[in-house]
């Protein structure tokens, strides 16, 4: 295993796209120490900022408050990356495979335009999680993002495939212009959920304030939910059993016009 520990707190962002199993695994200790990172506009060696123990490995642990460290796990395709502490923007952006786990909080653009792999955040996440970058036609196209805490605005913006599950509440525009895939909101969202969505599914276990351009279709307990429920339960995200209630299905966004669906959980009235 390779362990990197941030030496001192950062005042300006450090860009460290080299912190990825694809880059680190084949390298020996000294080569890892010499890898380039950018502190603001200055190029530094990795070991100027991190205490490094071990040789290149598919198992990497990065420790410290990395809130200002950007691009960790960028475009990684394999291996396991564990962040003990917080992580900065673009964590796992363009990720294709492997797994990232963060024990603390992360900021914006987590898993931006990712196409595969798993990201699991124990704390809170920022905005634009699993989203398309500005101007891009599609956001995440595969893989999954699981967040135990809250998340910010525009999560899953223009996502095409894959799964996002957030245990805490999320802010505005979840699933904005979504094209496919699934977002599970265990604690609901603030407003404008699913705005301008084309296709895809948003499941909310709490009542949602819906856009006026969504039509309420029917009560619904689709069979594919069972598959999701099983998968999510394995990661500790348990959907309530069908015996306790059902989903109301809303279709939109008519402004596109889109055929996305928002499923909102309605528990059976207590008897």
């Amino acid at each position: 295993m390779l362990t990197l520990t941030l030496k001192t707190a950062l005042t300006v962002p450090l860009e460290a796209e080299v912190l990825s199993p694809d880059v680190l695994a084949p390298l020996a200790h000294d080569a890892i120490r010499a890898l380039p990172v950018m502190l603001g506009k200055r190029q530094h060696r990795l070991d100027e900022h991190f205490d490094i123990t071990g040789d290149g490995s598919e198992e990497i642990e990065v420790r410290g408050d990395l809130t200002k460290v950007k691009w960790i796990g960028r475009a990684m395709t394999r291996g396991r990356l564990r962040v003990v502490g917080n992580a900065g923007m673009h964590l796992g952006a363009y990720m294709k495979g492997g797994a990232i786990e963060v024990t603390g909080n992360v900021t914006d653009w987590l898993g931006g335009e990712m196409s595969g792999g798993t990201i699991h955040v124990r704390g809170n996440a920022g905005g634009q999680l699993g989203s398309a970058y500005r101007g891009g036609m599609s956001g995440m196209s595969g893989g999954q993002i699981l967040v135990e805490g809250t998340a910010g605005i525009e999560i899953g913006m223009r996502m095409k495939r894959g799964l996002i599950a957030i245990r805490g509440p999320v802010r505005d525009f979840a699933g904005l212009q979504m094209k496919g895939g699934t977002i599970v909101l265990m604690s609901g969202a603030e407003q404008r959920t699913g705005a301008w969505m084309v296709r895809g599914t948003i499941i909310s276990l709490k009542p949602l304030k819906l856009m006026p351009t969504f039509a309420s279709a029917c009560s619904y307990n689709p069979s594919f939910l069972g598959v999701y429920a099983k998968h999510l339960a394995a990661h500790g995200f348990a959907l309530p059993p069908a015996s306790e209630g059902g989903y109301r299905r809303h279709v939109g966004d008519a402004s596109v016009p889109g055929k996305g669906e928002i499923l909102v959980w309605h528990p059976h009235a207590a008897t």
């Binding site: 398309a132 970058y133 500005r134 101007g135 891009g136 036609m137």
Partner: protein
């Protein structure tokens, strides 16, 4: 002072076809000899070309800059130009930044470019961008075929006054030539309409038709003796079956000089998108028989780009076809423009035909002096992909290889598989430099004769033309060594060419009241002042000739 020795020189204008000889440079010009202490570049095993000249490109101006703002997702994937002591930072990609444009053109041995579409209202802006486009020399064409002051004069048959206005406008914009885009059609687009045929009146007019605009402008330009003929983007761009409109336009231009811009986009047969086919044969046949015409290819290459044209109606159609982003910008009383990001796909029937038609025209037009290599950058492909086209033209086997990638049902709708012609290096020197320089009327460009501007590109001689022309070993611009051993070592400022036709200054008294009525800026702010144009180099046109 500089002597390039030992290289095979290609200078078609002066009849030099691959002879090993010295090229000497002093004071920014080609000279007959330089003293022995002058620096010598050993070009053994290399070929020496006059610097490339782009007759039709979109590298500056409000429309292009509008496009830049629309495609951050393409910029993100484009080639970064790093900030260095010699270079300003920027991005290449489908709409290179101004500094990048200069570096990238020079970086492939091209040293002059004609920005093909400038509205007068924002000409000041275009010149600001061109001033920030280093190394290369520049000129531009002002848009006129939808200018409502001109159209109104044609409606009332006041040709002489229209000519005076046109002359005033060329100088007001500090332009070099005149471009007509979809004559009448853009004016119609402002009401959401278009002009398809040449003979229907332009929306909003009774007497003005696309045909009358084309004829009048061609006459005006010939009579004003502008160095570059009317630069025309025909009506009906991009539409299946449009070759008949193109033929009609060429016929209407008999007796005039004219440059047919991006002819590829105007050479389609068929009735709709499903039956579309190549019509390069009838177009090339007519073109070959009419030496009053020149053209540029407007070739298409597969890949990501963004399309920008003053042809608003076409752009709206493209937006509806692709369902992607669309930007439109109409300019008061003068013109409009549309912007749509686009991907040309090998497997797409229409795109494959477009790709073939561009190459067919280049191969079917027999006189290389009259056809220039362009992609209508960035519409068909970005200009830095020209070396790919050069390889396709020079290598029949490579072309055959590429034909295997396109859908089989396209093969019966194109003639490319039947064309065996292979371009020679001399012919490449003509379509990339000597020909476009002649078409533009830039006598000091496109050749290596004594007195020519010392714009020279030196390439390693290689079998793969694409590799050869992508990375010149040396590039000299105005006698300065810019690229050395394949690296950009120096950046200089280029010149801008403008034409000054003769006009009666009384025309301003006619224009002033029209201005306060129809425009939203004051008349005094409208013309571009000479101080605004960096490195201005004025071509004084001969006196107005009367129709004979």
């Amino acid at each position: 002072m500089l002597r390039i020795t030992g290289g095979k020189v290609y200078d078609p204008k002066n009849g030099v076809r691959g002879e090993i000889r010295d090229v000497c440079i002093a004071g920014g010009k080609i000279v007959s000899d330089v003293p022995p202490h002058a620096r010598t570049i050993d070009a053994s095993g290399m070929i020496v070309f006059p610097g490339g000249v782009d007759v039709h490109t979109h590298v500056a101006g409000a429309a292009l800059n509008f496009a830049r703002g629309l495609i951050p997702e393409q910029h993100r994937k484009s080639r970064p130009i790093f900030h260095t002591p010699q270079c300003r930072a920027g991005l290449a990609g489908s709409t290179p930044t101004t500094f990048a444009t200069g570096y990238v053109y020079a970086g492939m041995g091209w040293t002059t470019a004609n920005e093909a579409a400038v509205p007068i209202l924002s000409a000041k802006h275009t010149h600001e961008e061109l001033a920030d486009t280093p190394i290369i020399d520049k000129c531009c064409c002002v848009l006129m075929a939808n200018n409502e002051i001109i159209l109104d004069l044609l409606e009332t048959a006041e040709f002489e006054r229209a000519k005076q206005v046109a002359a005033w406008q060329v100088w007001a914009a500090k332009a070099y030539g005149v471009k007509a885009v979809n004559p009448g059609g853009v004016a119609g687009w402002k009401w959401g309409k278009d002009c398809k045929g040449l003979n229907e009146p332009v929306p909003g007019y009774k007497n003005v038709t696309p045909r009358s605009i084309i004829k009048a402008l061609a006459d005006i330009i010939d009579q004003l003796a502008l160095p570059h003929p009317l630069h025309i983007h025909c009506n009906n761009l991009g539409a299946p079956g449009n070759y008949t409109t193109t033929l009609e336009t060429m016929k209407a231009l008999e007796g005039n000089r004219a440059h047919m811009a991006h002819l590829q986009y105007h050479s389609y047969g068929g009735d709709d998108w499903f039956t579309m086919k190549s019509a390069s044969v009838p177009i090339a046949e007519y073109f070959n028989a009419h030496p009053n015409l020149t053209c540029d290819a407007g070739a298409v290459l597969f890949g990501d780009t963004v399309t920008i044209t003053a042809d608003g109606p076409w752009q709206h159609l493209l937006y509806e076809l692709t369902g992607r982003k669309w930007g439109n910008l109409d300019v008061e009383n003068e013109t409009g423009c549309g912007v749509v990001p686009y991907v040309y796909k090998e497997k797409n029937l229409v795109n494959a035909i477009q790709w073939a038609v561009g190459l067919e025209l280049l191969l079917l037009i027999t006189d290389p002096w009259r056809v220039c290599l362009t992609t209508d950058h960035p519409n068909g492909a970005t200009f830095w992909r020209y070396p790919e086209i050069v390889r396709l033209l020079m290598d029949r086997e490579f072309r055959k290889e590429q034909l295997k990638h396109i859908p089989e049902k396209v093969l019966s709708r194109i003639v490319l598989p039947d064309l065996d012609r292979e371009y020679t290096l001399s012919e490449i020197a003509i379509i990339t430099s000597a020909g476009p320089a002649r078409t533009l009327g830039l006598a000091q460009k496109g050749h290596l004769g004594i007195g020519a501007d010392a714009d020279v590109a030196v390439f390693n001689e290689r079998k793969d033309a694409m590799e050869m022309f992508s990375y010149p070993r040396f590039v000299i611009k105005s006698g300065q060594l810019i690229i050395e051993e394949g690296e950009l070592r120096n950046s200089i400022e280029g010149s801008q060419f403008a034409s000054k036709p003769t006009y009666d200054s009384a025309i301003e008294d006619y224009l002033r009241p029209l201005f306060s009525q129809h425009y939203t800026m004051s008349f005094e702010n409208y013309p571009v002042t000479e101080e605004c144009v960096h490195g201005l180099n004025v071509h004084q046109c001969g006196s107005c000739t009367q129709p004979g």
